[in-house]
């Protein structure tokens, strides 16, 4: 399952539809911090697409950004193996490198996503074989 963390409902929805119907990956959308960590720990998640700016996402009672959440997943040994793709509309190069370094994520996609087919290729590349 691919976990989509994105608080803009429309954007989350088209991603899910495309990845499921075109790429054949089952997807789930979640913006609740604690639930996300739970799902990842359950072993069902094979890749996370993580938005950076999350409104109303809380983890252990505190508001968190996608960067902090990704970092948490990457530093927790039980979830560190799950590849994470950061997705954000911040387009400046040094912003991106900064976020990548901060979050320890594996890749970065810039919104608007120019070609969704490339995204499928990226997922293919990152998801570890079972």
């Amino acid at each position: 399952m691919i976990l989509i963390v994105e608080d803009n409902e429309e954007n989350a929805a088209f991603l899910k539809i495309f990845v499921e119907r075109k790429g054949g990956w089952p997807c789930a959308i979640c913006t609740q911090g604690d639930r996300i960590v739970e799902l990842c720990q359950s072993g069902a998640v094979r890749l996370v697409i993580m938005d950076i700016q999350l409104h109303n996402t809380f983890f252990k009672g505190n508001a968190v950004s996608g960067v902090a959440l990704a970092r948490h997943l990457k530093t927790d040994p039980s979830t560190a193996g799950i590849p994470i793709l950061l997705a954000t509309a911040h387009a400046l190069k040094d912003e991106q490198t900064h976020f990548l370094a901060e979050s320890l994520a594996d890749g970065y996609i810039t919104k608007p996503i120019e070609d969704l087919h490339d995204l499928l290729g990226e997922i293919q590349r990152l998801v570890p074989a079972r």
Binding site: N11, F14, L54, N56, H90, I113, L116
Partner: protein
């Protein structure tokens, strides 16, 4: 060369000149002494004349003796001759000594004695020799008088000479003394001048150095002479400099701040524009790849695309509005508007976003027929902005808009109150500036460009109203109040 060195040098030059002036003066004095010596020679002539006069008398006596002895009448003639000469010399002497009454007195006495003697002996010269022993009056008394005259004259001569030479020497000494005194006074004045110039100047120099090092509060003590005036203007200058520098520093700070805001704005705007664009491109891709399962689904995608496009347009319009307002090109036509339908439309639009966050949205008006003087589209825009903020920045609770008339000021007041995250007191004044956000960081939870409040304030002011914002602080909710003129029903 330092100024005080120059002053010192100048004074020294003057002293040297004064001293050099002594050389000609000294020669003059020598000449004066010479002149005195020459003039005393005249007195010596007078002295010789005394001798000559006396000699005439002695010759007259010896003539007398010879005559008495020989009876030679030639002696008679010779006697008369001597007598005439004596007379002349005596008169010349009186003329020579006429300036000195004392001498004249003694001369007269001698003259008188001589005349008496001559009168006594003259008859003897003419009398025939009778062989008798004749008593000849003695000349000694007369000579004593002449002796007296000679002594007096010689005393007078030495005294006068010494007196003159002494006077000249004294005045020469006095000149030297005065020269020395001038030198001492000059040196002292020089020292005073140097002292009163040197220290203030040194203080000014070090203060200037301090100012050029950036210590603009350097001042110098003020004395009450010209340097004091200079110090005063110097202090005024350093004050002005300080104020100017501070003003410049403040302007620079503002410019830097504005630049930071603009950069943040650019990043934010780019982010805000990309989000709806992402939706548009995503759903377009779904349709192109024929991923919609049925026509209804496809129609839904299209309507999402349409909504996002509208959102994108409104963002672009916000940016354009701000720049229009800034360049003074925004003109609004104001009309009386009945509030109720307008508020209903706002309610209609915001019900959904509020309910998505489980917020209670209340729109309340104190009377059903409130009219305002406004531009309907712009008023709606302001209300969307302010209520949008309230919904955006409120995680739980309620958002309430209340409209009521303010009869005393003939206005309608709008208050938007929420139970949200509130605004720190120190940020409240700043938020009406464009681009300013409480949290401008990239990883913040809540998006936005930071234009909403700035735009609302400008629009309200263009419609003749005013706006203010208050909050008890973080976590205490916020309240924005604005007022517009009442609409006149025509």
């Amino acid at each position: 060369m330092k100024i005080w060195h120059k002053i010192l040098l100048g004074f020294l030059g003057v002293f040297v000149l004064i001293s050099l002036s002594g050389v000609p003066t000294e020669t003059y004095y020598q000449r004066i002494i010479e002149a005195i010596r020459l003039s005393s020679e005249q007195d010596q002539i007078a002295m010789q004349m005394v001798d000559a006069t006396e000699i005439h008398l002695l010759e007259m006596e010896s003539c007398l003796w010879q005559y008495l002895a020989s009876g030679d009448p030639a002696n008679q003639k010779y006697f008369q001759d001597r007598r005439k000469h004596w007379q002349i010399l005596s008169e010349q002497m009186a003329d020579l000594l006429k300036a000195d009454p004392h001498m004249i007195l003694i001369l007269k006495r001698a003259d008188r004695a001589a005349t008496t003697w001559i009168q006594q002996v003259e008859p003897l010269m003419g009398a025939p020799r009778n062989g008798q022993k004749t008593v000849i009056p003695r000349l000694d008394d007369v000579r004593v008088q002449y002796q007296q005259l000679r002594k007096e004259q010689s005393r007078r001569l030495t005294e006068g000479y010494e007196y003159s030479v002494n006077t000249v020497e004294r005045s020469s000494n006095l000149t030297w003394f005065l020269r020395g005194l001038a030198l001492a006074v000059g040196l002292f004045t020089c020292w005073l001048v140097v002292r009163s110039v040197k220290h203030p100047l040194e203080r000014l120099i070090s203060a200037t150095a301090r100012i050029s090092d950036g210590h603009f509060d350097s001042t110098v003590p003020v004395s009450n002479d010209e340097l004091g005036q200079l110090s005063q203007s110097f202090n005024a200058m350093s004050r002005t400099l300080k104020e100017r520098t501070e003003a410049l520093e403040e302007q620079r700070r503002l410019a830097v701040q504005a630049n930071v805001l603009k950069t943040e704005f650019l990043a934010n705007t780019s982010h805000e524009l990309r989000t709806p664009l992402n939706t548009i491109m995503g759903y377009t891709q779904l349709i192109l790849d024929k991923l919609a399962r049925n026509p209804d689904e496809e129609k839904n995608y299209l309507s999402i695309i349409q909504q996002s496009s509208k959102h994108l347009l409104s963002l672009i319009n916000d940016v354009l509005d701000i720049s229009k307002i800034e360049t003074g090109q925004m003109r609004l036509e104001l009309d009386p508007i009945l509030l109720k339908p307008l508020l209903d439309q706002v309610n209609e639009h915001l019900r959904l976003p509020a309910s998505q966050k489980c917020l209670q949205l209340t729109i309340f008006q104190s009377a059903p027929d409130l009219w305002v003087q406004a531009h309907p589209g712009r008023l709606k825009q302001v209300l969307f902005n302010l209520l949008g903020n309230a919904i955006k920045f409120t995680p739980h609770g309620s958002v309430r808009l209340e409209a009521r008339p303010d009869e005393t000021r003939n206005r309608i007041c709008f208050e938007i109150r929420d139970t949200g995250i509130g605004i720190p007191k120190d940020k409240q004044q700043l938020l009406f500036q464009k681009f300013v956000q409480v949290d401008g960081s990239l990883t913040r939870q809540i998006g936005g460009t930071g234009l909403g409040l700035a735009l609302s304030k400008s629009l309200i002011e263009l419609m003749g109203g005013e706006i203010s914002l208050s909050s008890e602080g973080e976590g205490c909710g916020s309240s924005v109040v604005f007022s517009l003129p009442k609409g006149k029903i025509t």
